[in-house]
C-alpha cells in the first residue's frame, strides 16, 4: 500500500473534488486519500502504528456529520503516532474565537470555506511547499 501524502477528512463531495484537483495541480505525484466521517477517522488514528505508514499532511474539516473536527484534532494530537503530523483545519466560520480554538487545539493552519479554486490551490501550494519539503518534522513544536 502506497503511503498517503495527504489525508483529507471531509464529507462534502464538492470540496473533495476541489481539494483533490488543487492537490493534483500542485504535484501529480502526491498521493491523496479521503475519509468521509469521524468514525472512520478515529479508527484510522487508533490503527496507525509502526506497521501502517502515516500521512504527511492532514486536512480536517470542522463540520463533520458525526464528529466535531476539533475533537478529532485533539485525538490526533494526543496519539503518539500522529501528534507531529501537520493539520490544516477547514471551517466555514470566520469567527476569531473559532479560529483561536483551532490553533489552541494544535492546528497548523486554518482555512475559511468557501474558497475559490485559485486561492485554494495557491494556499495549499504554499502549505505543501512548507510541510512536505521538510523530511524532519519540527518536533519541538508540540513538546508535550
Amino acid at each position: 500500500m502506497k503511503a498517503t501524502d495527504i489525508l483529507y477528512i471531509e464529507d462534502n463531495e464538492d470540496y473533495i473534488q476541489f481539494v483533490k484537483r488543487a492537490v493534483s495541480k500542485i504535484n501529480t505525484d502526491l498521493s491523496f486519500n479521503v475519509l468521509m466521517d469521524g468514525k472512520n477517522t478515529l479508527e484510522f488514528i487508533e490503527g496507525v502504528g509502526a506497521a501502517k505508514p502515516l500521512p504527511r499532511l492532514i486536512l480536517l474539516d470542522i463540520n463533520l456529520p458525526d464528529y466535531n473536527g476539533l475533537d478529532l484534532l485533539a485525538k490526533i494530537r494526543s496519539n503518539k503516532a500522529t501528534r507531529y503530523i501537520p493539520v490544516v483545519m477547514f471551517s466555514s466560520s470566520e469567527n476569531q474565537k473559532d479560529m483561536m480554538k483551532a490553533f489552541d487545539g494544535g492546528a497548523n493552519a486554518y482555512l475559511v470555506k468557501p474558497m475559490g479554486l485559485t486561492p485554494l490551490t495557491e494556499t495549499l501550494q504554499s502549505i505543501c511547499n512548507f510541510w512536505l519539503n521538510h523530511n524532519q518534522l519540527p518536533v519541538d513544536n508540540f513538546a508535550a
Partner: protein, 741 residues
C-alpha cells in the same frame, strides 16, 4: 355727576312676616294655646262680630265664642279648637260658621305658643262650584305632551278656578330674575308672555316665604289693612304671621301692584327639587277675593304641577343626556372599529356636534385643526388653544361668556361666545372644543330692570317700586346659552372614554412596535444566515465552472464565453452577499467607540481605492481631518463606501476630482466628500439610502445598491447625520455630522 344704582333691596330688610296688620277682608285672633287667653286681635273685629277688639284682649276664646253665640249655646267652638289642637288642625280647616248672619270660614293655625284664628268670607255655593272643577282639572293638566303644554294647561285650569283676569306662570332663572313662560289672560289684555322681570321685583325674602306658604292672596290693594292689637306686654313681640293667609303685605309690594294697575293678586308657589322653581302669578284688575277652598284647590294644582315639573325637567334632562351619551358611544364604537379619531368625529356627519347642543366644534389633533360647523377660524382656534394651555385650566373648561375671560374672543362672538373645552392632551395642545354662538338675546324686560326707581319733582331719588312696565328690550352681548349639566356630563364621559381609548391604542402600538422589532431582528438573523449559507453553493458553482473551463480545452468560443459568464455572475452574487452580510452585521455588532485619527484612515482608503479603480489621474484634495469619536471598523466602512462612490462615479470625468473636507464646530465634527461625478437627482431624496436602491443614471457602473444603506445604518447607529447636495452632471457632496462627545 353719577347716580348710584338703586334697586328694591331695601325690601330684603323689611320684616314682612311680622307686620302688624291683616287685610281688610279677614279677622285675626291669636290666643295662648293652653290658657286660650286672647293675646292679639285685629282692629276690624267689630265689623265682623259687632264686638270691639281691644276689650277682648286678655279674655279667653271661650268667652269670645260664648259672647258671640249667647243665643246659640250649642255652638262650642272653643272646645272644637281645643280638640283640633290635639288631633290636628288640618282635619278641621275650614270651619264653616256665621258671623252676624253671614257665612265665614274659620281657618286655624299655630304660631309660636299661639293658636291663630282667621275668619274670612265664603259663600254657600262654593262647594258645588268647586265640585265640577276638582276632578277634571288635575287629570287634564297631567294629560301629557311637553312641559310647556302642561304649564299652559295649568294656567288655564287656574284661570277657570279663580276667574282672575290674568294667570301667568313665572319661572325664576338662576340669577333670580323671572320670565313669564305661560299665560292665560282675558280678552283685550296685553300679553306678558315672554317678559322678564328683574330679580328685585320679588325680593329674596319674599321668595323664601313662598317656599313655606304656598299660596298668597291680596284681595284688594286699595282696602285699608287692619292693625293687630296686642296687650302692652306683648307690644315688642309682634305675632309671627308666616302661616297667615290674610296678613297684609309690604306697602312696597302694594305700590308695585298698583303701578301695574293690578287690584287683586294671587300666587301659588311652584317648587322643584326643594327650590322655588317659579310661581303661578294671578292678577285681577278689580278687587277679587278667592275662597279658601278654591285657594286650597289651586294649591293642590300647584303641587301637582310642581312634581310634574320636577319629573319632566328630570326626564328631559335624562333624555337629552341619553342622546348625548348615544352620540358619544357611537364615536367610541367607530374608533374601536379601527376608525381614526378624525374619521370618527369629523368626517362622519359631524358626530361631534351630537354630543352637546353646540353649534360648532373643532378638533385639534396631531398638529392639525379640524373644524365642524360654523366654527371660529383656524387662527382663532389656535389662539384659544394657546390661551387654554396657559395657566392652570382644567381638562374640562367651560364658559358661556368667553369674551369676558379672553378678549380676542370678541372677534368671533357670533360663533363662539360659549366655549366648552375638553383636553385630550394639554401638553400636546390637543383639544376638542365646542362652541355656542352669542345669543343676542333680546331679553324683553317689563320695564328697565336697572331703573326700578323714580324721581320726585325735585329730581331726588325716591325709592318706590318702578312705575313703568313698558316692555324694555335689553341686548345681552357676548354670552351664549349656558352649558347644561347634561352637556358637561356628556363631554366628561366622552373625554374619559376617549382618553382611555387613546391609551389603549398607544399600548397596542407599543406592543406592535415590539413585535415589529422582534420580526426585524429575526429578519436580520435570517438574512445573515441565508447570505452566509449561500456563499458555499455559489463558490461551488464558480469552482466547477472553472474546472470545466480548464479541463475542456476543445470547447468552442461560445461555450467558453458561457462558462465565463457563470463565473462572473457567481462573483457578482458573492459581492452582493458580502455586502448584505456587512449591512446586517452593522446592527448585530456593538459599537466600540474611540477617538479616531482620521488622516491615516483616509489616506489608506484613498490609496487602496485609487489602485482598485485604476484612476491614476484622480485630483484628490484633503482639507482638514479632525478626529471622530466612533467605531473604527464601522467608520472606516463609511468613508470607504462614500469615497469609493465618489471615485467610481467621477472616474469618467476629466479629470476626476474628489475633495474631502473636515471641520470642527462647537458641538459637531462635519465632514464633506465632494466629487465631480454623475450626480444624483435630488428628487430621490432619502431614497438613495434604501437597500438595493440604484439611481437610473448609474446603471453602467458596477454596484449593488447596498453601500449607502450600510453608510446610513452606521451613521444612525452613531446618532450621527448624513445628507447630500447634488446636481446631475455636476457632482455630489455628502455631508457627515458627528457629535463631538
Amino acid at each position: 355727576m353719577s347716580y348710584p344704582v338703586v334697586n328694591l333691596t331695601n325690601c330684603d330688610k323689611e320684616p314682612i312676616h311680622i307686620l302688624g296688620k291683616v287685610q281688610a277682608h279677614g279677622l285675626l285672633i291669636a290666643a295662648d294655646r293652653i290658657s286660650f287667653e286672647i293675646a292679639y286681635i285685629s282692629e276690624n273685629c267689630k265689623e265682623f262680630t259687632g264686638l270691639d277688639a281691644a276689650p277682648l284682649l286678655g279674655h279667653t276664646l271661650s268667652y269670645f265664642f260664648d259672647t258671640l253665640y249667647k243665643d246659640n249655646p250649642e255652638q262650642t267652638y272653643a272646645q272644637v279648637i281645643r280638640f283640633g289642637l290635639t288631633q290636628g288642625l288640618d282635619n278641621l280647616n275650614p270651619i264653616k260658621l256665621q258671623l252676624k248672619g253671614k257665612l265665614f270660614h274659620l281657618i286655624l293655625h299655630t304660631s309660636d305658643r299661639f293658636i291663630v284664628l282667621e275668619f274670612e268670607p265664603t259663600s254657600p255655593d262654593i262647594d258645588s262650584q268647586l265640585q265640577q272643577l276638582v276632578g277634571s282639572s288635575l287629570t287634564q293638566i297631567l294629560e301629557g305632551g311637553t312641559l310647556q303644554e302642561t304649564l299652559q294647561r295649568a294656567a288655564r285650569q287656574i284661570k277657570e278656578l279663580i276667574r282672575y283676569d290674568r294667570v301667568m306662570i313665572y319661572k325664576f332663572w338662576e340669577d333670580g330674575h323671572g320670565e313669564v313662560v305661560a299665560e292665560e289672560h282675558a280678552e283685550g289684555l296685553e300679553p306678558f308672555m315672554g317678559l322678564h322681570y328683574p330679580a328685585s321685583d320679588i325680593p329674596r325674602q319674599a321668595r323664601e316665604l313662598y317656599k313655606i306658604n304656598l299660596t298668597r292672596i291680596i284681595a284688594d290693594v286699595d282696602a285699608e289693612p287692619s292693625g293687630i292689637l296686642t296687650m302692652p306686654d306683648e307690644k315688642d313681640k309682634p305675632l309671627d304671621l308666616t302661616h297667615s293667609s290674610i296678613r297684609a303685605v309690604s306697602t312696597i309690594h302694594i305700590q308695585y301692584l298698583k303701578n301695574m294697575g293690578v287690584q287683586a293678586s294671587f300666587s301659588v308657589s311652584l317648587i322643584a327639587n326643594d327650590e322655588l322653581w317659579g310661581l303661578i302669578a294671578c292678577h285681577n284688575y278689580t278687587p277679587r277675593f278667592i275662597d279658601y277652598k278654591a285657594r286650597q284647590h289651586a294649591k293642590l294644582i300647584g303641587q301637582v304641577l310642581s312634581s310634574s315639573i320636577q319629573y319632566r325637567e328630570g326626564q328631559e334632562d335624562r333624555e337629552e343626556s341619553q342622546a348625548f351619551r348615544n352620540a358619544s358611544d357611537d364615536i367610541i364604537r367607530r374608533m374601536q372599529k379601527d376608525w381614526s379619531l378624525v374619521d370618527a368625529v369629523i368626517n362622519q356627519k359631524n358626530f361631534l356636534l351630537r354630543i352637546t347642543n353646540a353649534t360648532s366644534a373643532a378638533l385639534i389633533f396631531e398638529g392639525k385643526i379640524y373644524r365642524v360647523g360654523d366654527a371660529p377660524s383656524e387662527e382663532q382656534i389656535q389662539g384659544i388653544v394657546e390661551w387654554l394651555q396657559s395657566g392652570n385650566k382644567r381638562n374640562l373648561y367651560h364658559t358661556n361668556h368667553l369674551t369676558a375671560l379672553y378678549s380676542p374672543a370678541d372677534a368671533f362672538r357670533d360663533k363662539g361666545s360659549g366655549l366648552l373645552a375638553c383636553a385630550i392632551s394639554k401638553e400636546l395642545g390637543e383639544y376638542i372644543l365646542f362652541f355656542k354662538p352669542e345669543i343676542i338675546t333680546t331679553v324683553k324686560w317689563a320695564g328697565n330692570p336697572e331703573k326700578p326707581l323714580a324721581t320726585d319733582d325735585s329730581g331726588a331719588l325716591v325709592l318706590s317700586p318702578r312705575r313703568s312696565f313698558e316692555v324694555w328690550s335689553q341686548q345681552v352681548e357676548g354670552t351664549s346659552e349656558k352649558w347644561s349639566k347634561a352637556e358637561l356630563n356628556a363631554v366628561f364621559k366622552f373625554r374619559e372614554d376617549l382618553v382611555h381609548f387613546i391609551n389603549l391604542k398607544a399600548n397596542e402600538i407599543r406592543k406592535l412596535n415590539e413585535k415589529l422589532k422582534e420580526a426585524y431582528d429575526e429578519l436580520d438573523t435570517f438574512s445573515f444566515t441565508i447570505s452566509h449559507d449561500l456563499k458555499t453553493p455559489i463558490a461551488s458553482i464558480k469552482n466547477y465552472a472553472e474546472i470545466m473551463l480548464e479541463d475542456n480545452t476543445q470547447l468552442d468560443e461560445q461555450n467558453k464565453h458561457f462558462l465565463n459568464r457563470i463565473i462572473i455572475s457567481a462573483d457578482k452574487m458573492n459581492t452582493l452577499i458580502r455586502e448584505v452580510l456587512e449591512y446586517s452585521r452593522v446592527s448585530r455588532t456593538l459599537l466600540q467607540k474611540q477617538r479616531i485619527e482620521m488622516e491615516p484612515v483616509i489616506r489608506e482608503i484613498t490609496s487602496e481605492l485609487v489602485a482598485a479603480y485604476k484612476v491614476h489621474n484622480l485630483d484628490l484634495t484633503i482639507n482638514g481631518t479632525p478626529g471622530i469619536l466612533g467605531d473604527r471598523v464601522m467608520l472606516t466602512q463609511v468613508f470607504t463606501n462614500l469615497l469609493s462612490n465618489a471615485i467610481k462615479y467621477s472616474s469618467r470625468s476629466k479629470p476626476p476630482k474628489v475633495t474631502i473636507e473636515g471641520k470642527e464646530e462647537e458641538t459637531q465634527v462635519i465632514y464633506s466628500i465632494r466629487d465631480n461625478g454623475v450626480g444624483i437627482d435630488m428628487n430621490y431624496g432619502g431614497h438613495i439610502f434604501e437597500l438595493f436602491k440604484r439611481m437610473d443614471n448609474v446603471k453602467e457602473y458596477e454596484g449593488s445598491g447596498v453601500g449607502l444603506a450600510i453608510v446610513k445604518r452606521i451613521m444612525e447607529k452613531h446618532n450621527a447625520r448624513i445628507w447630500y447636495e447634488s446636481e446631475p452632471g455636476t457632482g455630489t457632496i455628502f455631508y457627515l455630522s458627528f457629535e463631538k462627545d
